[in-house]
Amino acid sequence: MDKFGSAESTKFDTYASRMMPREEYFTSGHRSCQGCGEALAVRWVCKAIGKDTIIAHATGCMEIVSSAIPQTAWMHPWIHVAFENTSAVASGIDAALNILERKGKLKGPRPKVVAMGGDGGTSDIGLQALSGALERGHNFTYVCWDNEAYMNTGIQRSSATPFGAMTTTSPPGRRSIGQKTWKKDMVAIAVAHGIPYVATASPGYLFDLYFKIRKAIETPGPAYVHVLSVCPTGWRSATDLSVRLARLATETAVFPLYEVVEGRHRLTVEVPKLRPVKDYLKPQGRFRHLREPEIDFIQKQTLANYELLLQKCKSSFPEFAPIHLPQVG
């Protein structure tokens, strides 16, 4: 496959596991399933956001496995309110920090604010609150744990469920091939809000994830990071394949890793020769029912979407209307 565009890999400070921070901010003892790709991502995001951060978290897998009274796996100040409002809660926290800082009531550095939610709590029920928070330009980072269904309630479909996937509310049958619609593009939605930093990330590339989160946290204003969260339970894959599947998602262009810095798209992990999507689909039981026509369609659409992304990376000007406008007067 030809190399497209001028995309460059991100140059990181560190590539060595041993040199990464050792302190655990998402502690052992949480009750995620064995091999949970989401928990792995959470572990590294929590290291990347640093000690001086407040987390607002939506209802979902990570919230449930980590916060059964009296046990909490979180070392950060952390608040859970409801399912669809984590961006609104984060907005309130950000506003409070603004006023407390102005009034000189904050001791120590002003904490960062991170909102976390699953794909359901982000692209479905949480979309309104997210849109509002992004549009108002709060200083926060939103991290979406995308395991591609409502996993905590028993694997029901969401708008992030990939085409053809089996879920309990999009089961294959005589009249159904599984999920009928293509995965909603949350990154494009975030970019359309004119925010300065948007990225995709994955537990298949943990250094990439770590440094993207660092970048997102340091960016003033809103940032959005969409994390592919491999779920062996819901995807019906082997528990030891979670990192490998995340890598396959990128290698097949199903989940390209890129960032959008002020509207400019850039691949952060280049894949010189893409693998066929069926390499990604085969190890997952949720795609087991798919036949040639569906797999062909997925292959074609995946490549078409990837082409579009590469075009955006090449674009000489970004389609970008920033929400931060210079102060007038």
Binding site: I79, H80, V81, A88, G92
Partner: protein
């Protein structure tokens, strides 16, 4: 900014503006609000106070009421004095979050400009909106006029933030009837309010220096005990509420009680009502008393926690109590206030007969003459034994 505030003098202004001054004087720090008739003037004026630097606060123009209450929880959790306001559909949209705000013990203060709930759509006043939120675990009061709205808005912060209380509080004022009407108010100066209401000291705060987890879930083994703790918090807030009201009375000369009475000495028949209609009922009582009839009025101010003892005392001498609800409990045997009153009186060996009426739904005007007609109807029903569970007053057809 419309008016300069001068302590002591009585100034005519719209009640909404007076409420926003109360919030300004209370030095609210984070205001997350979504516009809905008839609360709009409160949040508009607060917005302009913030824009002009006259109120040092963050105004979050949230994209829905659900987010308004969610953002309020966020800002309260981060340690800022938090205020919001809403009505009707907006209050209904906040519903799931309201329970959470009180269970998590955040001292949020909210003004509800009471307005009827859809359907059909109505922008006008009744208590349907707040009656759908009886069980949210917030402290709730009703005010009768603009001065009370001003007073109770400031007191609400002090009550809510008391470490013996730590519960959010709603001040109910009748939409349009109060919110959009010009009344005369005696405001306080900033110094006086600062002495009355010191800065917020959060009990728990989201702070990296001392990380806590808020909003963890409870297994069946714990849920009951946690709701008991919530119930006890609301019940025990009674003492601190009265303390704050006493302090205010000493400060301003305006004394408030959970249950207030008007000309009930020797009265055998009592009207009972909440909110601004109490003043109309007072006029009716005056007219009846002038005719020599021993009729009095009981005005319920504190709605949650419900003042059982005070209520029992207030109606002790009467034979008949006519409870006027501005809300309808569809399909039930009693409207909200009627249900609470009957429940409060049920354990007594000797108790008055209690009949219930809905009045003034969806902004329908209620005149003193209406109260008199209602009274005559009630007296007749009481004599023959009531023909219905409760009555809807003034329905055509």
């Amino acid at each position: 900014m419309a008016q300069k505030m001068t302590a002591g003098k009585r100034i005519g202004m719209e009640v909404s503006i007076a409420v926003s001054y109360a919030v300004q004087l209370s030095r609210a720090e984070a205001i997350a609000a979504y516009p809905i008739t008839p609360q709009t003037h409160i949040v508009e004026h607060l917005s302009s106070l913030v824009a002009n630097g006259e109120l040092e606060a963050e105004f979050i123009t949230v994209e829905s009421e659900h987010s308004a209450m969610s953002a309020s929880i966020g800002s309260a959790a981060a340690g800022a004095r938090t205020y919001t306001a809403t009505s009707s559909q907006g209050l209904a949209l906040m519903h799931e979050i309201l329970f959470i705000a009180s269970a998590m013990r955040f001292p949020i203060v909210m003004t509800v400009a009471n307005r009827a709930l859809s359907g059909p759509l109505s922008i006008w006043n009744d208590h349907g909106d707040i009656m759908a939120e009886r069980d949210i675990g917030w402290i709730q009061v009703f005010v009768e006029n603009g001065q009370e709205a001003f007073d109770h808005s400031i007191m609400a912060f002090k009550i809510a933030e008391d470490h013996r209380v730590l519960l959010p509080m709603i001040v109910n004022l009748d939409g349009f009837i109060l919110s959009h009407v010009v009344e005369s108010h005696q405001l306080l100066d900033q110094e006086t309010v600062d002495r009355f209401l010191p800065p917020l000291v959060p009990y728990h705060r989201l702070d990296p220096a001392k990380p806590v987890t808020m909003g963890a879930f409870a297994m069946p083994e714990l849920y009951t005990e946690m709701k008991m703790a919530h119930q006890m918090a609301l019940t025990n807030s009674y003492g601190p509420i009265l303390e704050v009201w006493r302090e205010w009375g000493a400060l301003t000369g305006r004394h408030y009680q959970p249950v207030e009475t008007y000309r009930t000495e020797g009265a055998k028949v009592l009207l009972l009502i909440m909110g601004s209609l109490a003043e109309v009922a007072e006029t009716a009582v005056d007219e009846l008393q002038a005719l020599g009839e021993p009729v009095g009025l009981v005005k319920l101010r504190l709605w949650r926690p419900f003042p059982f003892e005070e209520l029992r005392k207030a109606v002790a001498g009467a034979d008949l109590v006519l409870v006027c609800d501005r809300a309808l409990s569809l399909g039930g045997g009693a409207n909200p206030v009627l249900a609470e009153v009957r429940s409060a009186l049920y354990p007594l060996a000797v108790r008055p007969q209690v009949l219930g009426y809905t009045v003034g739904l969806g902004g329908r005007d209620v005149q003193p003459a209406d109260f008199i007609k209602l009274l005559r109807h009630g007296q007749a029903e009481a004599k023959q034994g009531p023909s219905q569970e409760f009555f809807m007053y003034g329905v055509r057809g």
